[in-house]
Amino acid sequence: MMLDALALPLAGVAVLAALASAAVSPAAARWPRVLSWLSFPLLGVCALAALGAGIDALWFGGMHHALLPLGLPWLPWQVQVDPLAGVFLLILGAVLLAVAVYGPGYAREFRNGRDSLAALGVFTALFVVGMLGVLLAADAFLFMVAWELMSLASYFLVAFQHEQAEHRHAAFLYLLLAHVAGLAILLAFGVLAAASGSFSFAVMRAAHPDALWAAVAFALALIGFGTKAGLAPLHVWLPEAHPAAPSHISALMSAVMLKVALYGFLRVVFDLLGPPQWGFGVTLVLVGGATAVLGVLFALQQTDLKRLLAYSSIENLGIIFLALGLAQIFQAAGHPALAALALVAALYQALNHALLKGLLFLGAGAVLHGAHERSLDHLGGLLRRMPRTGWFFLIGCLGMAAVPPLNGFVSEWLTFQAALQAWQLHDSLLRILVPLAAAALALTAALGAAVFVRAFGTAFLGRARSRQARRAHEVGRGMLAGQALLILGIAITALLPGPVLGLLARAATQLTGATVAGDGWLWLTPISPSAASYSPLPILAVLLIVGALGVALLRPRRRAAVRRTVPWDCGFAPPTPRMQYSAAGFAQPQRRVFAPLYALHEQVTPGRYELAVGDRAWRRLYLPLGALTERAADLARRMQAGHVRRYLAWSLITLLVLLWIVS
């Protein structure tokens, strides 16, 4: 059959559909229905095609390559689909499909506002085109063009509701750091191109820069892609920008764009850069571990639901990079099978995070839509007013808290299993580092559970803390269907880890040359059946059976199942909603324990308590950098006196110096 040759045409269809969506969207300015009836459905087509291309590439494991009649005359654009790109096409397709179903209902909100629907449609589509382009590019030129398209389009989406000053501020910060990232990536490709003499990935892969230049390229790639992926301390734009965008865009940014950055890093460091080095691995483990712990600690202190989710994305990307570090260490130490396991763990985590965070951002959008409020301290009791969104959100929270039988646990388990193979390493420093990484991961997992208990508990349980929350209503069918699609993906990745692992292993094989053993569709035994095994389906079955038995046996037969009355609360006066634990109060113990890591501003005045939890990275890194830039600008201003004579003199001096250098 020719099925395995379908990947590239399908990817082409995806790009064309997204371009078509961008082309029709300007009409939404006049006819708002265009957005619901054309723009989003075209994105849905794009998503299905990308999903098909990704699964095709992973299923057959084929490498497809083509030259496009586009680009510069001597530098035609090259595209490719291979298993590594397939994983990320799959992620993009799955989340985009849900967003395409969810979007029309959510965008209806903007119809009566002053925000331009045309801009929303055009930039969403261009954003998708950019991400697809990054995944498909097979040369550095097309890669950078697509990367910048992705960055710029998403800038306009962050700035979509630009009447609010904080959104403008977030968008500017995002643009600034996106440029820094783009510059670093460009330079990383410059190093690779210098070593190979070509912009084509195929040539770069064959040539290897020497150790020093490889380290430079690694550092540049880490800064460039790490900024986009939100690694500490380059993460500061992320919690500002992701919440500022409309919720379905937040879902795309958190669930997909961060993964595209991850893809770029994998492509450059694991595919193009040449032989792995343990130093790279150690760096990744340290950066990833620090990012994960800091991300989750800050997520725990957020009272804005979308900011909380954004910080949790930082945490997850930290975990993924930590697993990548393990893969690099194992590969450098000559254990390709273990490297493949760590890599599969990272990819599994990426897939899980995309599905879960996509779902949670769509859920946060539904909350925003239904209750017009995203501060946890003003929400409460939504599970009874928005039951479907609420139960979906609970599944997302349990998944993020990494408990069996959900999918978050599968990737966490795989990462732990990879870390537990540290005894096979010879270097004793690494043998200490790897378990330490596992400890950081364990701490992150426990704190992550607290983050999502707090988020769900204050927003959806208890009693409404504001009038908006009391009047919240369930969202429409389309928005629920979008969330349900992601639930389907979560069910597959949670309950059938064997087949999913089999697909992801293709990409790991491409990068490491080793395979990850599976054991049928029911069991997950990545090392050996006797060493470790996990099977979620029996766990779910037993949970359901025991639960059903309990209900059947214990339900009273002669009287009503339960009697409803006022809360007991130790017999005190009936509690009011304001007496509930607030989100800020819930996390107070951890705030006290980890106080040195936060920049806390607490102020108590009679009858009032104000709390601001700031990021230390601001004061330590960004404000000094900003001051430095301003001082440099001051110096440069001295040259700008406004006299033509002086400018001519500067030009002449520059010319002379250049001539001197050339001669």
């Binding site: 004793s428 596992a438 701490l443 208990v453 766990i539 025991v546 007991w568 130790c570």
Partner: protein, 318 residues
């Protein structure tokens, strides 16, 4: 035939633990009473309490959502499932393949998340207080527990609890520095996780000191019975986990009536000793202030980490 026998044994072991769990609690109470020069309640009291609660009407707060009524079943089922991954009498345990030690900790995590969510559900201040504090305890206790398991997994090269116990039975020495650190950490974690003195007091009804009780405050009838039973099972589970990891002698490696009987006797003896130890420590120690608890648990975390380091530095000869 062997398969059927193994499966039956695997099904019966968690049920045996479930049935014995209230007895362990009663035993601890009895020893504690004796140490305080009281006679103490009969050993069957916890069973009578459960029967009484199961027969009573369940009262649910009007402010509670459906999650409140689902939570007890999930907590109970998840704890029971965690117990199924634990070799109680025999190391021939198919359940340990379904869920290894990491999954066991994950299942306990699922139970805890549902418990804390239920605490927040009625919208009462004490429920929220208990939930918030429980999350503080678990912030340190869960990673410490994972590290204990990692230390042992590094030695035995498996995370399957049955294989771990079997490997120790087959002659791996437990008299290693890493095991000593891990044991100390596990004891501290067990005390915290099961809500015992000095972290939490299971018999307190002084509102400001409650953790576990605070979350259960709104429960009654069969819901409360399930929650209480799950908590008792958790205590038994931690006791058996300690025994399995560090003192597995007596566990049956073959399924014959004689070995099983021997295993039962050995288990009863070991659990009685552990229970007595808990009673003594609860009598000697006073409950800590809440903000001393992180220090206590950080100590457990550090001990577990030291165990891991001790393993890597001192013991792993390649």
């Amino acid at each position: 035939m062997d398969r059927v026998l193994t499966l039956t044994a695997a099904l019966l072991q968690p049920l045996l633990l479930l049935a014995a769990a209230p007895l362990l609690v009663a035993w601890v109470r009895r020893v504690k009473a004796r140490l305080q020069n009281r006679r103490g309640a009969p050993l069957l009291t916890p069973y009578r309490e459960l029967r009484k609660l199961l027969g009573k009407e369940a009262v649910v707060a009007r402010t509670a959502s459906p999650l409140f009524r689902i939570a007890p079943y999930v907590v109970f089922a998840a704890t029971l499932l965690a117990a199924a991954a634990l070799p109680v009498l025999s190391t021939l345990l198919p359940g340990a393949r379904v869920a290894d030690a990491i999954a066991l900790i994950g299942l306990l995590g699922l139970a805890r998340i549902m418990l804390t969510l239920a605490g927040l559900d009625a919208g009462t201040p004490f429920g929220g207080m208990g939930a918030s504090r429980e999350m503080l305890v678990t912030t340190f206790a869960e990673p410490a527990l994972l590290l204990v398991v990692f230390t042992l997994a590094m030695t035995t090269h498996t995370t399957n609890l049955a294989s771990m116990a079997a490997s120790t039975l087959a002659g791996d020495s437990v008299l290693r520095p890493s095991y000593m650190f891990a044991l100390a950490a596990l004891l501290l974690v067990g005390v915290a996780e099961c809500g015992r003195i000095p972290v939490d007091n299971p018999s307190t009804h002084l509102e400001l000191t409650m953790i576990h009780e605070g979350m259960l405050l709104e429960y009654s009838g069969r819901h409360l019975a399930l929650m209480e039973w799950a908590a008792q099972l958790k205590l038994a589970l931690f006791a058996v986990l300690t025994v399995d990891l560090f003192l597995p002698w007596g566990l049956a490696t073959r399924l014959t009536p004689l070995t099983l009987l021997g295993a039962l006797a050995a288990l009863a003896l070991k659990l009685a000793a552990l229970g007595a130890l808990l009673a003594v420590s609860e009598t000697v120690l006073a409950k800590m202030r809440l903000f001393r608890v992180p220090g206590f648990l950080a100590m457990a975390f550090l001990l577990a980490l030291l165990g891991l380091f001790a393993h890597v530095i001192l013991e792993s000869a390649l």
